[in-house]
């Protein structure tokens, strides 16, 4: 045991020294005064150690040695008294030194102990700080971090070193920064000693984490600079639970106050967004056959400015397609933390709109998934399982609500519909018992027939049924009661209570009871009076229109024919005019030739002129712009004149015969126009007598009129054409007459002129025997007898 040996050596050394000094002193007889300091040194050296027992032992030994020396050296200048004195000094010195040393030792031990204690406190504090479940740190009055623990660094999402280069304000969310800054100022100025609040801290990844922030002023004795102890607790879990609870409450509130899902959906989705802090919520509704989902409602968080109006956005989802489709298929809530990191094929528009995270949960009603609600957020986030189970619960509640609301709505709608149909229908509806009694009649029925319910039931209805049976021609009600629905309806004539006669259309339907046996009937009664009348009027109008159309068509046809005829006439005339004038122009002709050709040209030009004249005349007459200048006219003279001119024409081969009444009175008329009429009739007679024959001109008095006739023995007019000969552009086209030229205007003009004179014109004709045209002109007034006037 070396330590014990060293202890023994340590303890023995003073004694050995003492013995040595004593031995030397005894041997040399050195004076006590000389030896004393040596003893003193020895004792003092022991006294310096904090070992009181050894000090007393050494001291006693030293005192004994001094006494021994004094005794052995008696008689010399060294005596006992001196020795005693020396012993006393020795004792005092040793005691006080020991005391001093002890004291010093004690003081040293105390301070060491204190230091040790301090050190352990500090260590404990540090460990506490480090191990604390709450974030702790200190900041200067300006917010600069001085110390942070790991937990705080974790809460703030930054490294400790990084934090120490930042300020509390830097890591506080902007919304709360002002308040924290104010609090720091107040703490620094010692206006308050403690400040607590729930604030959001901004993490470097952009997330805002909710914390309970407590700050207390503490003093740093050394620098005298105010320090603030900062304590932060992560309350996101608590907040999340609160939010989830609020979300459930919010959903239930919406559900209980809404009457339909359509009404509830936007509010509900907005509430989910707000409480759970998602940017967008979408409700995908399954179609009737549950083959695809389509986006039904979409709501975003207030203030969240999302633009999802992407035309290529997939608004229909198939089973199993995308997250939503998978949730629909599986009926289990699911999530994606990061759309960008997943191949979420349906979410192109969502990704483009900057949405990153999504969670979807099924809406379950009646045991199957009827829709899916999808929540989307701009930032990547981790979805906890408790959120999923909470959402699943909500999904079931919403599903139940949707089913309830739909059923209630459908019920109330069908009931309201039926009632409205019955009450407000413009059609009379009667409910009739199996034996034909009127059970109920709607307002329209009573109003239509102008009866109250009582007379309706007792009188009008039985009458109506009789009329129905008569019209339907079958035994009363039997077919109806057998369950036959009369879809076509029967129209009957019925009088109203006010005496008006109506056309009514009755359509009966039998209504079976639960067992399918016809229980009663519904009879629809429609007032079709206006329809019937309108149909009649329409038929009339249609007839009239058909007539008008035929007229128009005829007019159009005659117009086309007229154009064809007129152009043919013009072109025929122009053929000679153009051809012969071209010959003359080209020269090289004999004088006789030129003269002859000039004659042809003149004749054809004259013909064209007449054609144009006819057309203009007719136009003027028809538009009322031609007037006749009435004067006394000798019609016989007109006839002779025209005949003379006609018979002088070299081309005419017919014979002319005059049968004029010499006593015929003067007529009232326009001579030029009457000449035109007679000329036209004579020309026609000649024209339609291609093989010659006789043209007879005759006159005689007939009542107050002169009757004028032009008769030929020519082709005659077919019976079916006779009534048309005076129509415009109408020419006899059959047989030999078809190629006889003419404008088709001549007789029309003739008729116009005759009628302008107050006369009439007509024709008698037979094919192959010739035609006789007759017209009348009123006699001049002084020649008319009373009888003749009556005729007029």
């Amino acid at each position: 045991m070396p330590s014990r040996t060293r202890g023994l050596v340590h303890r023995a050394t003073p004694y050995a020294g003492l013995a040595a000094v004593l031995a030397v002193a005894l041997a040399t007889g050195a004076p006590g005064l000389l030896v004393f300091p040596l003893f003193l040194i020895l004792v003092l050296s022991v006294a310096l150690f904090d070992d009181r027992a050894q000090l007393v032992a050494i001291g006693s030994a030293a005192a004994l040695a001094i006494l021994v020396l004094a005794i052995t050296q008696l008689g010399q200048m060294y005596n006992l008294a001196t020795a005693v004195f020396e012993v006393a000094v020795l004792g005092i010195v040793a005691g006080s030194v020991h005391e001093v040393v002890r004291h010093a030792r004690e003081a040293e031990a105390t301070s060491e102990k204190k230091a040790e204690d301090l050190e352990s406190v500090d260590e404990r504090l540090r460990m506490t700080l480090e191990a604390a479940t709450i974030g702790l740190g200190t900041v200067a009055a300006d917010g600069r971090w001085l110390q942070v623990n790991d937990k705080l660094a974790a809460i703030l999402g930054r490294g400790s070193d990084e934090l120490l280069r930042m300020s509390l304000l830097d890591v506080t969310a902007e919304a709360d920064r002002r308040a924290v800054d104010d609090a720091l100022g107040q703490l620094g100025r010692r206006e308050i000693v403690r400040w607590e609040s729930e604030v959001h801290q901004a993490r470097p990844d952009g997330r805002r984490s909710p914390v309970a922030l407590a700050m207390a002023a503490i003093s740093d004795q050394g620098a005298g600079q105010p320090l603030v102890l900062v304590q932060e607790t992560d309350i996101s879990a608590r907040k999340r639970l609160d939010a989830m609870r609020d979300a459930v409450v919010g959903v239930r509130q919406v559900i209980v106050s809404a009457s339909s899902w359509e009404q509830a959906a936007p509010t509900l989705l907005r509430s989910l967004c707000a409480h759970l802090d998602w940017d967008l919520a979408q409700y995908w509704s399954a179609d009737g056959e549950r083959r695809s989902l389509s986006l039904q409602t979409s709501s975003h968080k207030e203030g969240s400015n999302l633009d999802l109006d992407d035309p290529v956005r997939n608004l229909s989802i198939q089973v199993g397609g995308g997250l939503v489709g998978r949730v629909w298929q599986s009926g289990v809530a699911a999530y994606l933390d990061d759309l960008a990191a997943n191949d979420y094929e349906q979410a192109g528009a969502e990704r483009r709109a900057g949405l990153r995270a999504t969670v979807a949960f099924p809406v379950i009603g009646g045991g199957s998934t009827i829709g899916v609600i999808e929540l989307l957020a701009r930032e990547v986030r981790h979805t906890e399982s408790d959120l999923l189970s909470m959402l699943s619960t909500i999904g079931v509640e919403i599903g139940q609500f949707i089913q309830r609301a739909a059923t209630a709505q459908a019920l109330s709608r069908s009931e309201a519909d039926h009632r409205a149909i019955y009450e407000r229908s413009p059609i009379g509806i009667a409910r009739v018992s199996g034996d034909g009694e009127l059970l109920e009649g709607n307002p329209a029925l009573l109003q239509m027939l102008e009866h109250d319910m009582e007379t309706m039931r007792s009188q009008a209805w039985p009458d109506l049924l009789r009329a129905y049976d008569q019209a339907a021609g079958r035994a009363r009600l039997a077919p109806l009661l057998a369950g036959i629905t009369d879809q076509r309806g029967v129209q009957i004539r019925a009088a109203t209570g006010g005496g008006r006669w109506l056309w009514l259309q009755l359509t009966a339907t039998s209504i079976p009871d639960m067992s399918g046996r016809p229980e009663h009937m519904l009879v629809m009664v429609e007032d079709v009076t206006t329809v019937r009348e309108a149909q009649d009027r329409l038929a009339e109008a249609l007839d009239a229109q058909r007539g008008a159309f035929a007229t128009l068509e005829k007019l159009d046809r005659t117009k086309t024919e007229f154009l064809s005829i007129v152009s043919h006439e013009f072109r025929t005339a122009l053929t000679g005019i153009q051809g012969f004038s071209e010959l003359i122009r080209d020269g090289g002709l004999e004088t006789d030739e030129v003269r002859a050709y000039g004659g042809y040209i003149f004749n054809d030009a004259d013909r064209v002129n007449r054609l144009i004249g006819d057309m203009l005349d007719l136009d003027r007459m028809e538009s009322g712009r031609m007037s006749i200048r009435l004067a006394d006219v000798d019609i016989n003279e007109v006839m002779s004149d025209v005949m003379a001119r006609a018979s002088s024409s070299s081309t005419v081969i017919a014979e002319f015969k005059a049968d004029l009444d010499p006593r015929l009175p003067i007529v009232t008329g326009d001579r030029d126009r009457l000449v035109q009429v007679v000329t036209n009739l004579v020309n026609n007679a000649v024209k339609y007598s291609p093989d010659g024959g006789t043209v007879t001109l005759s006159t005689r008095a007939d009542g107050g009129f002169a009757l004028v006739s032009v008769t030929d023995t020519g082709l005659g007019i077919p019976t079916d054409e006779i009534e048309h000969v005076f129509e415009r552009f109408r020419r006899v086209r059959s047989g030999a007459a078809q190629s006889i030229p003419g404008t088709g205007l001549g007789l029309t003009i003739v008729k116009q002129i005759v009628e302008m004179h107050g006369g009439k014109i007509w024709v008698e004709s037979a094919v192959g025997h010739g035609s006789a045209f007759h017209f009348t002109v009123p006699l001049a007034a002084e020649h008319a007898t009373p009888l003749q006037r009556r005729h007029a």
């Binding site: 154009l563 064809s564 152009s567 043919h568 006439e569 013009f570 072109r571 025929t572 122009l574 053929t575 000679g576 005019i577 153009q578 051809g579 012969f580 071209e582 010959l583 042809y600 004749n603 054809d604 291609p690 030999a736 078809q738 190629s739 006889i740 030229p741």
Partner: protein, 132 residues
């Protein structure tokens, strides 16, 4: 009533069927000057008779004629002599008329009034011998 040609050296014979005397004279004057022998018919029936009797090289046929119109005459002539050339010369000049005449079998159509040069040209073209 066939009329003899006044110019004897023309090798081709043209029958002009037209009821209009002025047109008859014009065509005769122009075609004889051009070296053709010209026959004249005053209506459709005459045209058929002369055509079958005289075998003209070409018939210039009006349409609107008494007793038988030009189209019927052409039909009868073509039925008997399919190779006989017939030019319809008509004052019917509606857009559809030309088609109507060609469909009826006309070899060409000449609209009245015509340029004398056109008349000569159409006659020359249809009377030319294939070898010439």
């Amino acid at each position: 009533m066939p009329e003899p040609a006044t110019v004897g050296y023309g090798s081709s014979v043209v029958l002009v069927a037209d009821d209009n005397e002025v047109a008859q004279r014009l065509c005769r004057r122009v075609l004889e000057k051009a070296g053709y022998m010209v026959l004249i018919a005053g209506d459709g029936q005459q045209a058929v008779d002369i055509a079958l009797a005289e075998n003209p090289n070409l018939i210039l046929m009006d349409v609107a004629m008494p007793t038988m119109d030009g189209l019927e005459a052409m039909r009868q002539i073509k039925a008997a002599r399919p190779e006989m050339r017939v030019v319809i010369a008509s004052a019917h000049s509606m857009a559809s008329d030309r088609e109507r005449f060609l469909a009826a079998g006309a070899d060409d159509v000449l609209s009245k009034p015509f340029r004398l040069g056109d008349l000569v040209a159409v006659v020359a073209r249809l009377t030319a011998k294939p070898s010439a």
